[in-house]
Symmetry: C2
Subunit: 291 residues, 2 copies
Amino acid sequence: MKIAFQGETGAYSEEAVFALCPDAEPSPCITFEDVFIAVREGEVEHGIIPIENSLYGSVHENYDLLQEFSLLITAEVNLRVRHLLLGVRDSSITNLRAVYSHPQALGQCRTFLRTTLPNAELIPSYDTAGAARMIAEKGVLDVAAIASVRAAEEYNLVVLAESIESNHHNFTRFLRLSDASPGRCAASEEDGGGGADYQTKGDIKTSIVYAQKENVPGSLFKSLAVFALRDIDLLKIESRPLIGCPGKYVFYLDLGGSRDDESVKNALRHLEEVAASVKVLGSYAVGRQIN
Amino acid sequence: MKIAFQGETGAYSEEAVFALCPDAEPSPCITFEDVFIAVREGEVEHGIIPIENSLYGSVHENYDLLQEFSLLITAEVNLRVRHLLLGVRDSSITNLRAVYSHPQALGQCRTFLRTTLPNAELIPSYDTAGAARMIAEKGVLDVAAIASVRAAEEYNLVVLAESIESNHHNFTRFLRLSDASPGRCAASEEDGGGGADYQTKGDIKTSIVYAQKENVPGSLFKSLAVFALRDIDLLKIESRPLIGCPGKYVFYLDLGGSRDDESVKNALRHLEEVAASVKVLGSYAVGRQIN
């Protein structure tokens, strides 16, 4: 089963591919848009995209693409970003002269690097998987890379230290996308994504994007009232100003329940009365958190 | 006036430094936390941090630091991210063999690169300012870098093409931070940041962070009611799940008006009744948008 993701082999996104589709054949893409195109054109079964990170926020670019393309979200997963210190076989943490990684990863491991490897030179690379590949190609004992467990496997590196990031609450939420065309979607919305079984309505969530009619005090309040009046739980809300359109906002909303529930159907119909536009992105099982 | 920012000379953040503090002496820091520390310790007059980008979302890390440190937001600016193609003197766009930049910048200029420079090799660097510095050091005619106008000035490069990014709605919102200690803060909140004058309440905004008491349907609705009931406009709202604390959320809210307005004071007192915690990050003049 071919699954598209953005990045190169060994990237963190590739872990999400296997978390959501264990028997996947990952298909690397250069940009997020390429992932959407690959799903739409039927070149792959599903696409996997990051939608938000607990430190760096929502990926608005992917929200834009979700609005532009008519794909459905059919599953999600929360994946902890774990940084590992990787070296070639027979290398040791006591003899490191330099550490390569993406500047963000080097920054996230600053406490470890300062206390354990105070004399190692920190050399920025343009991505973590690339740093791992490079030290594998160099094959010398006194340099290491900070990258993911997948990069370790991919480039045959040994783990010199694990979970070396200072903040252990670094999670990325990934979505699985499927083609919404009738008769094309292998994973129906109703299977909750990946065959997870669920009994209660609380296990399902629905993601929508909507735009306010105009920026008047209380208009956001009114749009949220359609859910509060029906006791529908809001799991995520985010406003985003439309640059170039002062006073215009778009909202991302995740709510508890399926688009097939009577109360959700009624709320969405009510929302269409008070909003300029409403787009349902999908109903799917609330995802696992993988530590 | 020393102003701290994260990044190196020629980085996009440095443009925000000059936009908010024209007579600044920029003081580069390695991490965002270093910026906060420099302000708190009185090593600099102000710090400048990015808080959200129109494509990539809120910088949660900086919201966390705003909660941890007791600094005040005293000004803001929205800065358009403009990518320029830069070369050494006497170079020409018709003879380029390679283009260096951060992968994100290369991606953002994909259409330009594909149509205008289809044969140039795209070489990822770990940041845009570093790419500019490198081609300045190389001093050869057939390579270029994609970076900011500040990088062009800093490294004496000529502009071969400007505004080459595909999406012209790429803006970053930056905040100016000041020490909140009594008698320490040079720019008082009341000056609206940088001496901008304002007449109407609509020109001032207040940023707060608050946590919900518990995740029950309608609790977000109740917390927003405190503003709607007083006709206070909401300019930004974003929820963020606290990883590791299921059902716990923190909210970022920007509202129209000053913390000194009677209605805002009343609303904040009311919010304290319904929220687990409320922190006011500052009241400041609504910032310019610099294209």
